[in-house]
Each structure stands twice: as structure tokens, then as C-alpha cells.
Subunit: 409 residues, 2 copies
């Protein structure tokens, strides 16, 4: 049994935490498992390094910022390896380059090009547990490149794929994936299983447990993920393609407050308006999430779309620049919105699920501003100050408080 175990920053926040992780690793080895460990930087190390870089210059060179940030994981990997060795467990730290993880040179958001797992296999064959730095690889010119925030999940999953591991365990300070964020809905319950598609939707809809890109990689390489807590032995959540036969309509709900709504008001109803707007947004690298177009009585359209908070100013600028070209009247930006989503692979081919979500919100007097759907997700844009209430109502309506329930359609 070969398992890749990834430990996040909160699991490695202090020397004491590192010793706790070493104990967990020992237990796995004593159970006869072969382990490859992937680590994030200790606690707030990455934030501290980012702060130093921005104290030097407002615009750090991306290559140098990556070279700087990568040292955080190098430190935690070396410290964990020496901790294991001090307990008589043969271990060795590996940087991304030493572990054979080749990436593009897109600093800060590099993509994995290729993994040569020979060095790790070699270590395992010699009874040595490799401790690999997450978040980083080596670019074609031997520079260090990082995969972006949360990239350690991706490192772990990608290594699990390359090593053909039995599963990838992602340890953090939460005991897996819940039907909702327990800080908002205390009655939320942990999910035993999730499909990749459900997890991807949850991750991109605001759940913080796993990074979307990492789950997508797991899906395409069929790597079973086990999300669990470093600090408790409770079961956690298995994310795989092997979900149970009877599926609930809604598996979990998620909330995302970090969005803004941008509206182009009073645009004459002519072809090409949306095309112009969205091609210019994409040229600026702005990701658009939901889109809504309403035809008003005087043949003027309103076009609204949502973006991440941080892109709102740039999106407004792009929209304003479009106004003369499309004869539009005005641009309005609304930062007081949030997105609540219901996710479940069981909603496939069940039209009653969407109605159930809308009814739950209507019953609470919550106005739905925009709607977005995918095969396994229904998202609603609502006023930010109503969002938690909306989330609770959906959670209740689909009986998630009492575990996974199947809606009759």
C-alpha cells in the first residue's frame, strides 16, 4: 500500500506540530504503508516572505518571488525529515527539482509539465520516506517555479498519480468536507464520500478544503483523495469516481462572499455587444463567472456578470471603455453580493432540485439576483447580508442537517 500524505501549513505551524506529524507518519509506517510526504510551509511563513518581498519593491520580479517563497517549503521539509530521522525513521527531504517535478516557467502559477518519479521510487526502494516540498517545481531553465497558492495539494495529487499510489491523503485542520461550512452552519455534517465533479464545484464555489485545479488533476489521473484532519482520527472524506449508487440530490452547500457584480445598463439590443464585452474582459485576464442578460421594455438590455472581488475595478474599467462602442448608458458595480451554491451529482436529470432551491429562498423572502447552473450545481447570487441565511435555508430544505437525504422528484 503506497500512500501520498500532504500536510498543510496549519499542521506544521510549530516545531511541536512537526513532531505530531512525525508521529502520524510513524503510525502509517508501522501499519506497513509505504509513504511519500508532501509539505506546505510552516504556519504563516509564506505570508511573511510575501511581506518581505513587498517591503523591497511594490512589484517583485515573478521569478525572484518564486525563488523566495519556495524556501518556506524547503525549510519545513528539512525540519520534518530530520525529525523523522531523529526517531529512527529513514527519511530524506526533496525539493521539487530533486523530486523530478518539471513545470512551465509561468512563475506564481506554473503548470506541471512532467514528473519523473525515479528519485522518489529509488528512496522508497531503500526504505527511505521522501519528504517533498509542495507548491514548487523546476522550470526548463532550472529556475524554481511555484504552482500558486494551494499548490501543495496539486503536488501531492500529481505525485500520487505519477507513483500510481493507492490514494492521496490531504491533511488539514478540518475533518474533511462538510455539507456546509461548520462555522456558518453548526449542524453541518461531514461527508463520507464525494465525486470529483462535486468536489470541483464545491472548491470553485468557495469551499476551502481543496484547490479546484488539484481536484481536476485528481479526476483526470483518477487519484483517490482522502481529505482528513491532522488533529483527529475521524474518518474524513473520500473523493473519487466510486460514489455510492443512491445519490442525494444535494450533497453540500457552499458560500462565496468574494465576488462583485458588474452591470452594463441601457445597452441597445444589437448583436455583438456581449461578444465585444467578454472578449475584452478575457484579454485583460479577467475570469467571468455568472452572466445575466435582461431585455427591458424599451428594447434596451442590461448585461450583468460576476467576477472575483479583486478583478472588480479592472472589470469596471473594461466595461466603461465599451460604453461608447455599444451606445450603453452606464456601468454599475455592486460589491454587496454573495453566491450560494447547492452541489450534488444526484441532481443530474432531476428538474425538481432547482425548484427546491428557489422555493427555499423564496420562502425566506430572499431575492435571487442571478442564477447559474451546471450539471451538478445550482448557484444563486443574493444580497451579501442575506447569504448566510440563504445557505441555512437550502441546507435545511435538503435535509443535510440529518445527513445525506434523497429528494423525491
Amino acid at each position: 500500500m503506497l500512500i501520498v500524505q500532504k500536510f498543510g501549513g496549519s499542521s506544521l505551524a510549530s516545531i511541536h506540530h512537526i513532531q505530531g506529524v512525525a508521529k502520524k507518519i510513524r503510525e502509517g509506517l508501522e501499519d506497513g504503508q509505504q509513504l511519500v510526504i508532501v509539505v506546505s510551509a510552516m504556519g504563516d511563513t509564506t505570508d511573511d516572505l510575501v511581506e518581505k518581498a513587498y517591503a523591497v519593491t511594490a512589484q517583485p520580479t515573478p521569478r525572484e518571488l518564486d525563488a523566495l517563497l519556495a524556501t518556506g517549503e524547503m525549510q519545513s521539509a528539512a525540519l520534518l525529515a530530520m525529525c523523522l530521522e531523529s526517531e529512527g525513521i529513514r527519511a530524506q527531504s526533496f525539493t521539487g527539482a530533486q523530486a523530478g517535478l518539471a513545470t512551465t516557467a509561468d512563475y506564481g502559477r506554473a503548470r506541471i509539465l512532467h514528473i519523473d518519479p525515479t528519485p522518489l521510487r529509488h528512496a522508497l526502494e531503500h526504505g527511505t520516506t521522501p519528504v517533498v516540498t509542495g507548491f514548487q517545481g523546476v522550470a526548463p531553465d532550472h529556475s524554481i517555479a511555484t504552482l500558486g497558492r494551494g499548490g501543495s495539494d496539486l503536488t501531492a495529487i500529481a505525485l500520487a498519480g505519477a507513483l500510481d499510489a493507492d490514494r492521496c491523503e490531504i491533511y488539514s485542520d478540518v475533518a474533511g468536507v462538510f455539507t456546509a461550512d461548520p462555522r456558518i452552519i453548526p449542524s453541518a455534517v461531514p461527508l463520507r464520500t464525494l465525486s470529483f465533479d462535486e468536489m470541483m464545484e464545491l472548491a470553485s464555489q468557495g469551499a476551502q478544503v481543496l484547490q479546484t485545479q488539484a481536484v481536476a488533476y485528481a479526476k483526470s489521473h483518477d487519484v483517490v483523495i482522502h481529505a482528513r484532519s491532522t488533529f483527529s482520527d475521524s474518518g474524513g472524506t473520500i473523493i473519487s469516481n466510486r460514489t455510492p449508487g443512491v445519490k442525494p440530490a444535494v450533497t453540500a452547500v457552499a458560500i462565496n462572499r468574494h465576488i462583485a457584480k458588474v452591470g452594463l445598463v441601457g445597452v441597445p439590443d444589437a448583436p455583438g455587444v456581449a461578444a465585444l464585452l467578454f472578449s475584452r474582459l478575457s484579454q485583460r485576464g479577467i475570469n467571468v463567472d455568472l452572466v445575466f442578460q435582461a431585455l427591458s421594455h424599451d428594447h434596451l438590455n442590461d448585461i450583468a456578470f460576476t467576477v472575483e472581488d479583486k478583478d472588480a475595478a479592472a472589470a469596471e474599467e473594461v466595461a466603461r471603455a465599451c460604453l461608447p462602442d455599444v451606445n450603453g448608458r452606464d456601468v454599475v458595480v455592486d460589491r454587496s453580493v454573495a453566491k450560494v451554491s447547492a452541489v450534488g451529482s444526484g441532481m443530474l436529470g432531476r428538474p425538481g432540485v432547482a425548484a427546491g432551491v428557489f422555493q427555499a429562498l423564496a420562502g425566506a423572502g430572499i431575492n435571487i439576483q442571478m442564477i447559474g447552473t451546471s450539471e451538478v450545481k445550482i448557484s444563486c447570487i443574493v444580497a451579501r447580508d442575506k447569504a448566510e441565511h440563504a445557505l441555512r435555508r437550502i441546507h435545511q430544505a435538503f435535509l443535510l442537517d440529518e445527513g445525506q437525504a434523497v429528494i423525491e422528484d
Copy 2:
């Protein structure tokens, strides 16, 4: 004009210091120099990392300790490179591996095997100033290995040799090499020139400006060193083979308080006693400095030797274990001693110099416990509480207060 510039930890103690170093580099570039920069870790970073490692375990795995410590220089190199770039100077950080510095796998005290300066030359050809991490290289198995404390000097000098640079400038918080430590003898004056041999003796006798091994490398590869201050523009000291024709007998004095004297008392005068003792000391990796053997009236010998403070306990253990084999009476360890040295390549073939040193101490009533000499050095072991006084007397006797004087012999 190609120059390698090395900046020590005190020159990089804060973001503000890093910006000061960037300014100095800009001045050099504006003078038309091509520069390769070598950096130590910022301020106390290395000490902090060592402390973390020893919080994890009393015996850190040497490989992992090196992997950990190496991150200090990686951080300062990335920060300095991004600082230069923010000022419009093209720069790029290089780890030891990226700079082509291959070492042995003797973690913590690796030796340089080979330098392939192609990556640095390539950068220079493209108008990019390389910022190289000092203190580290890459072992044959791709592990990171460090050269030991002060190894950044060696990195800079070795790169200067490999690049055939015009000189290597070592920047620190002191304005070069002085006739004595100015903290002890305020009237000490800076030396404009020194030979490699003099500098090696001074470094190994306790002067902290440069690391002995680095100077030895400079001598064997004929790399001219310019030791100077980051914080002032005063001239500093040129260390080379090209010393002036007329040489003073004594160029500088040095003091080393970090030694201990170990004595084997009452050993019968028989052959092989010293051989046994010193071969066992060397098996334990203990470096012996001065040795003194005295024949007493009853045909019993006293054998005394000096070691570094940190080796005193181990040396005592070895000496005690020898006692039965050599029929010795006792072992005594004296930690209240210090070594004062007078160094100068001008003392070659001038027997009066040693006499001058002894007279200076005798005139001050200071007892000399042991004597050691080389072609360019006279060292005396004295009581530690008399050592500074001894240093001052020698400094005065050879007119060093007034600059470099030639003794008539």
C-alpha cells in the same frame, strides 16, 4: 573589468540594508564594471535556522541541516535580485546548483569539486547581474551541501577564480584588515596590502575578517581579494601576492581567546608517548595547535597542547584514556589561556623579530606558557586575563600604531 562582490550577513541585516547594497552595486555598474554578486544569509537568519533544527532534535541529520540552512542565502539572493530589478537593473538569483558549483557530499563542510561558470557567463553576456547564494553547492547526488560557516567568502573567491575575475571584493562591517582588532587596540590602523600567507596566518590566529580556507583557495588560484566595508568608502585591504618591496617585520597582531590547554603530567620519558596521544586525538577529529614538551628533573615529561575550546572536553577524555598506556600521572585542562600572535612576511630570515616579541612581553611581566612559530608568525600562549595587555605591548613594540614600520635586525 569583471569583479565578484561578496556581501556578508551584517551588510544584509534588513530590507533597508539590502537596498543600500543595491545602491553600491548600481555604482559599480555605472562605473562600467561587470559584477557577480555573492550573498550570505540576512543578519541572524542562519543562527535562527540552527536553533529551529536543534529544537526538533539534538542531532539533526547533516544532509537535512544543510538543506535547511541553505534557504537563508536563497532568501537574501532572491530579495537582492528583486531589489535590483525594481531599480531597473537586470538581475537574477542563482542557487549554488544553478550557478554550477559542484561540491562533495561532506555536509556542513563540503569541499568544492568543480565550478562550471557557463550559467553565470551566459547571464553576464545578456547584461544580467547574477546574485549567487554563498555557502552552498550541489553534491553528486543533487543534494544541497554547505561549505561551513564563513563559506560565502570561499564561494565568492572560487567563483572569481572560475570566472577569471579581476578581483574579489569581500564586503563586511569592517573597513578591511587592521594591525590589530580595533575594539581592543583603538590605535590600530588599517593595512593597505597583505600577502596571502600573512592573511592566512591572521585568519587562523583569530582575525575574523576572512576565513582561512577561503584565503588558501585565493592563494592557490591567485585571486586578488579586496576586503572592505559596506558602510564606508575607505580604501580597505588588498590581499594578493603582489606585496610591496620593503616589508615590515610585523604586519599585524591577532588574539584568540577560544582555546584551551591540555596537559599530560608526569609521563616517563619513553619513545612513542606523543605518537600514541596525537594519533588518538586525530582519530577523534581533534585539531591540535601548539605543542610543548618539557623534560623535568626526575625524567618525567610534561606534554601540553592547545585545542579549540569546543574540543577541550573530548581532548581531555582522549588524554585520560592514554594515561594507563603511557604510565602518566594526571591530565590537567586549563581554559584560562589565550593566544597572541604577531604576523608578518617581513620576519622571514630576521631572527630579531621573535626576540622583540618575547622582550615586549617580558617587559610587561607577562609569562609565556608556550610558543609556536611559522615562517611568518610568532604565537605565544599567555594567561587569558593578560592577553589584551600582551597584544597591546607587541603592537606598540613594532610601531604598528604609527603604521607599518620596518624593524632593524
